[in-house]
């Protein structure tokens, strides 16, 4: 690969990280406003216009708050925990295809941090690492509530990863690739919106979204930090930005989970009738510009999908009660995993008998 191209790619990665952070920051604002609106309130409106500076105020405050190490804590791990949570959360966003490529003369910019052909496994692995951040932080705090939170987080994440992985296997069976970019492209057969995986995998999608809630520790699965039981859960003892990192990591995880769901099940950056639009644009603007415009619209599309998922996450959080620990486990092990296995079998059968529409060969060979 040429150096300039590598330079562009580095820039894209930086932009992706920046965007992830920005979205995480403003997710806190969105969470507050959405919660407020669902509850007949107005939410923050005094920090800047419409309270838009609220996340910045929180961030500055967290940065300038006193650092604190609880007595008897393991200092190194105490710092390492939130860092790990944050880093893994950010790393996961690197492989998500936020758009097709842009073309300027001979330069081609891929709107994806990095394309790896095992993208899905990468995300899966990195997200699994995230729970170590929580576990380490909870254990290092030397606090019983934190420890309980950490234990809950660990067992919950491990249990739900199983079901999640099995839901993914069904997607793999349909798409026959692990590359997120390939999966996206497969869902964009011209004019055929029903090639979106959600149509082929409705049950798998439901399992996946439930597991996504559990993996991101959001209500109704927010047991590791549930306020009324464990005070703050694993981050009870954290102050200042270390605590902020945990909060941000949670929102980045929500963002990543939303992005993954958009890519896997909702066609990523594709939108209906994009090729018709492209063809129409190409007549007046030329092929390259038309492609760039469509790519831009694709980026808008995927973010629209991501934001609706984030909204859904928040909407659910402010509506539902939470599970009890054993019920959560029961749901995971006795309902979701069997369902996921059933889904695999079902998908296999449907593929075998050609019920699921196959992606046309001409499109794959393109």
């Amino acid at each position: 690969m040429e150096l300039p191209a590598l330079g562009w790619q580095a820039l894209v990665i930086l932009v992706v990280f920046g965007v992830s952070l920005l979205i995480a920051t403003y997710s806190t604002y969105a969470e507050r406003v959405i919660a407020a609106f669902l509850q007949d309130r107005v939410g923050p409106d005094r920090a800047g216009p419409f309270g838009l500076l609220q996340p910045l105020a929180d961030a500055v405050k967290l940065f300038t708050k006193e650092e604190f190490f609880p007595a008897g804590s393991n200092r190194a791990l105490f710092v390492f925990g939130p860092c790990l949570a944050m880093v893994t959360a950010l790393m996961a966003s690197a492989v998500i295809p936020f758009g097709n490529y842009l073309q300027f003369g001979s330069t081609i910019i891929w709107l994806q941090g990095i394309e790896v052909n095992i993208g899905m496994l990468y995300i899966f692995g990195v997200v699994s690492l995230g729970v170590y951040g929580i576990m380490i932080g909870g254990w290092a705090s030397n606090n019983k509530f934190s420890l309980l939170g950490a234990i809950r987080a660990a067992s919950q994440n491990i249990s739900y990863e199983l079901a999640m992985g099995m839901a993914l296997i069904a997607v793999l069976m349909v798409s026959e690739t692990l590359s997120l970019r390939q999966i996206t492209l497969q869902q964009s057969v011209p004019g055929e919106w029903y090639f979106w995986n959600v149509v082929k995998q409705p049950l798998g999608f439901i399992i996946f979204i439930v597991c996504a809630f559990a993996e991101t520790n959001r209500t109704p699965f927010d047991l590791p930090e549930c306020e009324t039981e464990l005070v703050g859960g694993y981050h009870t003892e954290y102050s200042s930005m270390k605590m902020g990192l945990y909060l941000f990591a949670e929102y980045i995880n929500v963002f990543v989970a939303s992005a993954v769901m958009s890519v896997l099940y909702f066609g990523g950056f594709n939108f209906p009738f994009q090729y018709e639009l492209q063809a129409w644009l190409a007549e007046s603007q030329g092929a390259v510009t038309a492609h760039n415009i469509i790519t831009g619209l694709g980026v808008v599309t995927i973010f629209a999908k991501i934001f609706s998922f984030i909204f859904f996450f928040m909407w659910v959080r402010w509506t539902l009660p939470r599970f009890r620990y054993d019920q959560l486990m029961r749901l995971g092990w006795t309902i979701l995993i069997p369902l996921a296995i059933f889904n695999i079998l079902l998908t296999g059968g449907l593929i075998l008998f050609n019920v699921i529409p196959q992606v046309p060969k001409w499109w794959l060979l393109q």
Partner: protein, 185 residues
């Protein structure tokens, strides 16, 4: 009616003994102050009746979240503002102090209601006559219980304090002396 109810405090004067160096020293301090003022996460230390009025303040009609304070941090490490609401009995007093000691700087204390401020009608053998005997209090909110409007007024007074506080105040000898007078390390 509106003009009548505007609080009588015009400008912010720092409590005596805490006027450290450098009020309005730098623009950085201003920014930090404004940020802190708009992000006061309360630790609701609700013991009795005033706790119910605090719920009303959190509720839809008054909505404390407008001030950036809707995330109640029950963990003292993460809280900026200790809101003591309700009677503090002598049995409870050491716990209030412990919670205050656990809070990370910068921290403010708002005493809400007659009982927390002064003991109120409970001038009895078991009730602490005002929490300022054990921890320094920044803002007193009178009333039994105060209306949510008064609580919000009190919160805005704390915001005034936060906005105009020097970053270095918490390291100043005056502040150390204040804490030492309360026997807080």
């Amino acid at each position: 009616m509106t003009d009548i109810r505007v609080p009588e405090i015009k400008t912010v004067e720092a409590p005596e003994g805490v006027e450290g160096a450098g009020f309005f020293a730098t623009s950085l301090e201003k920014v930090v102050g404004i940020a802190r003022a708009n992000s006061l996460w309360p630790l609701p230390f609700a013991t009795s009746c005033c706790g119910i009025e605090f719920m009303a303040t959190m509720g839809s009609h008054y909505d404390i979240s407008r001030f950036g304070s809707e995330r109640p941090s029950f963990s003292p490490r993460q809280a900026d503002l200790l809101m003591v609401m309700g009677t503090i009995a002598k049995k409870m007093a050491p716990i209030v102090k412990q919670v205050y000691e656990q809070m990370a700087e910068p921290r403010w204390v708002l005493a809400m209601g007659a009982c927390a401020c002064s003991g109120g009608i409970f001038d009895s053998y078991s009730v602490l006559q005002g929490i300022d005997r054990i921890i320094p209090v920044d803002v007193y909110v009178p009333g039994c219980p105060p209306r949510p409007e008064q609580v919000l007024d009190g919160l805005m007074r704390v915001q005034d304090l936060a906005r105009n506080e020097s970053i270095r105040r918490r390291n100043s000898p005056e502040y150390q002396a204040l804490l030492a007078s309360y026997n807080i390390k």
